[in-house]
Symmetry: C2
Subunit: 156 residues, 2 copies
């Protein structure tokens, strides 16, 4: 399948998802060399999982399908611009490329917080809407010391 | 349990996780009024899921435990500053407050991309490391039109 066909498929998945009442109006595809590896759709409300955005679901399923914890060599096709959670997930999954159709402004107009989150993430900790505080710094480094000397360490 | 005890527990979870070889050196707790609702740890490599960061795992488990798709009234305690994926997940989950111990700089020093991602997310699309393109804008709005007229819509 070519780029436009894959992106159209992600849009179709999003429309179907709304029709089925499974979650928000978002769909995503992970493909490798034009072949679909996994499809994902927003399942936040039906699976009681606020992280079950279309891209996250597609990335998780693609990793399961390939038996790997990274998606090098794969591309993501999303019906809408990934929110910061999904964008960061694409980085952690090491995907090669991202394509999307609607924008974060379209999502905002439909009542979703994507655009707000893009403003919020770069803010200083004490300027964010969710009150956030750092404590116990010295103790908090212990896991990294443990990691440094672990023989069971699998890097990712 | 008080704030420090809950944060210490997230650090303990992180250390145990490394010792057990289940994933990266990160732990997180979701608590409500001082009571632990769920614990999470980084399970990226052992569960083949690049989104299975400690906070995401804790948020998902807490939602399952409470039977809800939001965590209003809950606080997150993380052994390390949440990466942008986890921070955005906290927003989507509508948590009240975030506490953390080690910082994104400690994570970076241990070889994790958290700090890089904080720089990358706010960048313009054409300046990011993962090549990204927008296409088919008009078609991409179809899911939102469907959402607007859906009787099965559950807002989140």
């Amino acid at each position: 399948m070519d780029t436009e066909a894959l992106l159209r498929r992600s849009i179709e998945v999003a429309v179907d998802n709304v029709r089925l009442g499974r979650g928000g109006p978002f769909g995503a595809i992970v493909a490798r060399e034009g072949t679909i590896i996994a499809e994902g759709m927003n399942l936040v409300t039906s699976s009681l999982d606020p992280t079950a955005h279309a891209e996250v679901v597609a990335l998780r399923r693609a990793c399961q399908a390939l038996g790997r914890f990274d998606l090098r060599g794969c591309e993501v096709f999303a019906s809408c611009e990934p929110c910061p959670m999904c964008l960061a997930a694409c980085y952690w999954a090491r995907v090669d490329r991202i394509w999307f159709a609607a924008t974060k402004h379209d999502a905002a107009a439909a009542g979703f917080d994507d655009s707000l989150l893009y403003e919020e993430i770069p803010r200083a900790i004490d300027e964010r809407r969710i009150p956030t505080r750092q404590l116990l710094w010295e103790e908090g480094r212990a896991p990294f010391h443990e990691w440094g000397r672990s023989l069971k360490r699998v890097e990712y």
